[in-house]
């Protein structure tokens, strides 16, 4: 449920779903996001779902806060449309050349490599949001005993495809960028394809993601198929 609807400046609506970060709160955000997206309102020019907020930006030349607020309040939030989310399998290789922070993870978590990987690959993750850099998915939740803070000094260049952990989330670097997350492996799959005009994202908010371990041979031959 939306706790409060207010204005963010004069060209956006700020939907506040509370301060907690968990799957049930985020599922509500995604429900509203999907329902609004389906409405395809011409005057709305962007929807930004995050952990517990939804920002609806609009063209002030065509509408205003009052109208968009009313539209959100009168939305028909359909339970059914939320249930048919896609489940996506992402191949990840944790060979030494890719799992750049495995030693740090072992030290911080006080769990050995095998157990870290076993836990990481055994879970289903939920995509809370995508963003920061184009297409980057924020996937949760990691088990309590798998949570580590960001690196003290972020890397200037995180390799494209890096799969990394911080606190309750895993993410995937869709292209080379600076970043401070703990890198556990790398995926050969293009998570964000900027040559695609439609649906450049492989993972969208609300999707379920599982990681599948692959070895270095499978990694190297992945894009030959």
């Amino acid at each position: 449920m939306i706790k409060n609807i207010s204005n963010l400046g004069d060209a956006a609506v700020y939907c506040d779903f509370g301060s907690e970060v968990n799957k049930s709160v985020n599922s509500e955000v995604i429900k509203y996001f999907k329902a609004l997206k389906k409405e395809n309102v011409e005057s709305i020019n962007n929807l930004t779902p995050s952990y517990n907020k939804l920002i609806v930006s609009y063209d002030l030349r065509k509408t205003n806060f009052k109208e968009v607020k009313k539209l959100i309040e009168n939305l028909n939030i359909n339970e059914a449309q939320h249930k048919n989310n896609t489940k996506i399998e992402i191949p990840v290789c944790c060979d030494d050349q890719f799992s750049l922070d495995i030693k740090r993870l072992e030290e911080k978590l006080k769990i050995n490599r095998d157990k870290i990987l076993k836990n990481f690959f055994s879970k289903e993750y939920f995509c809370y949001m995508t963003g920061f850099i184009a297409g980057m998915p924020f996937l949760g939740d990691l088990d309590e005993n798998m949570r580590v803070p960001r690196l003290e000094t972020p890397r200037v260049k995180v390799p494209k495809g890096s799969v990394a952990l911080t606190e309750q989330f895993a993410n995937i670097y869709t292209f080379e960028s600076p970043g401070g997350w703990n890198i556990i492996g790398n995926t050969p799959l293009d998570i964000f394809d900027n040559s695609k005009e439609v649906e450049p994202n492989v993972i969208n908010p609300g999707d379920t993601v599982v990681f599948k371990p692959i070895n270095i041979e499978e990694y190297n031959s992945y894009n030959d198929k």
Partner: protein
């Protein structure tokens, strides 16, 4: 032979821009588009283009271009010092006036005057590869035409078709400066101390050199946060003023990242956005609080004024 402009000197930050790309924030892609929308539309109107056509946007120093091809018209908007060179003769160019250019002519966009962005519209269609329905170049994310990179020396800008109507068009317009940037309080306004709130609305800030199309960084008295200097990442829009732990505000501009985790003290009213982006580094800026209803009314008036200006051309 193709009609084209050769870039003799690219300038500081010269890009193709149009109305930007919408409905992509949820996958992390910024809006982008021309920074100063009024000057962008005026440039297109002066050359007989559709108002949402691609133009060349430049910051501080613009490009120096040499034209080869059939007669074509161009127009420059903003507060720009430029020259047109016709068979060795230099002509001082006036903004808000169209010029006919012939093969061999050159346009030298020397500098923006006490402002940041200028626009060059070319009467016709540019040969550009669009990405998500927009040519707008975002150099930080490498999105848009020209592989998402700024224009470089030696490159050519190809023209696909030329507008047949090349009658001279002009309008009298002077870019007004704003004394205060009007701001609507943000969702985290109460994260800041009483003293911090007072500083925000009463003190002057200086625009930092680190400002670009992504954001305008300000320096001045520190704004103290008494609740939390980080929030859970959430969506941003252009004009949002975030205050990180160091107490110096940052205003999100057209190429801003789609989410951010710093508290939002306020949002610049849409009516002042075009003028905000033109405030150059080193200049002073002061904020003034405004209510939502007033911001809406003022924007309506600003839009009417823009429409009137366009109708006069």
């Amino acid at each position: 032979m193709t009609n084209n402009f050769e870039i003799i000197r690219a300038g500081v930050n010269t890009t193709f821009q149009d109305q930007g790309r919408s409905n992509l924030y949820h996958i992390g892609i910024p809006f982008s588009g021309a920074m100063d929308n009024r000057n962008y539309s005026l440039a297109n109107k002066l050359t007989g283009n559709k108002l949402n056509s691609p133009v060349i946007e430049f910051a501080y120093q613009g490009p120096h271009l040499k034209y080869t091809g059939e007669k074509i018209n161009i127009a420059v908007t903003g507060d720009v010092v430029f020259k047109i060179i016709k068979s060795g003769n230099e002509i001082d160019g006036n903004c808000y006036e169209s010029y006919q250019i012939e093969s061999g002519d050159q346009i030298n966009l020397i500098s923006t005057n006490k402002s940041v962005y200028g626009y060059l519209a070319i009467g016709g269609g540019l040969d550009l590869k669009l990405q998500w329905n927009s040519c707008s170049i975002n150099t930080k994310a490498n999105i848009g035409s020209n592989d998402g990179k700024k224009l470089e020396n030696g490159q050519k800008i190809n023209i696909l078709n030329i507008n047949s109507d090349q009658t001279k068009k002009k309008t009298n317009y002077i870019n007004s400066k704003v004394e205060n940037i009007r701001v609507i309080k943000g969702p985290n306004f109460d994260y800041f101390s009483e003293e911090g709130k007072k500083i925000f609305f009463e003190k002057e800030f200086t625009v930092s050199k680190l400002s670009d199309r992504m954001g305008m960084r300000l320096e001045g008295s520190k704004i103290e946060n008494i609740v939390n200097t980080n929030i859970k990442s959430e969506g941003l829009i252009k004009g949002v003023i975030q205050v990180p732990a160091d107490g110096n505000p940052i205003i999100m501009l057209s190429d801003h990242g789609t989410v951010g985790g710093y508290p939002k003290i306020g949002v610049v009213a849409s009516v002042d956005y075009d003028r905000l982006v033109q405030i150059s580094p080193g200049s002073k800026i002061k904020f003034k609080e405004i209510e939502l209803s007033d911001a809406q009314t003022l924007f309506k008036l600003y839009e009417m004024e823009t429409q009137n200006l366009l109708l006069q051309i």
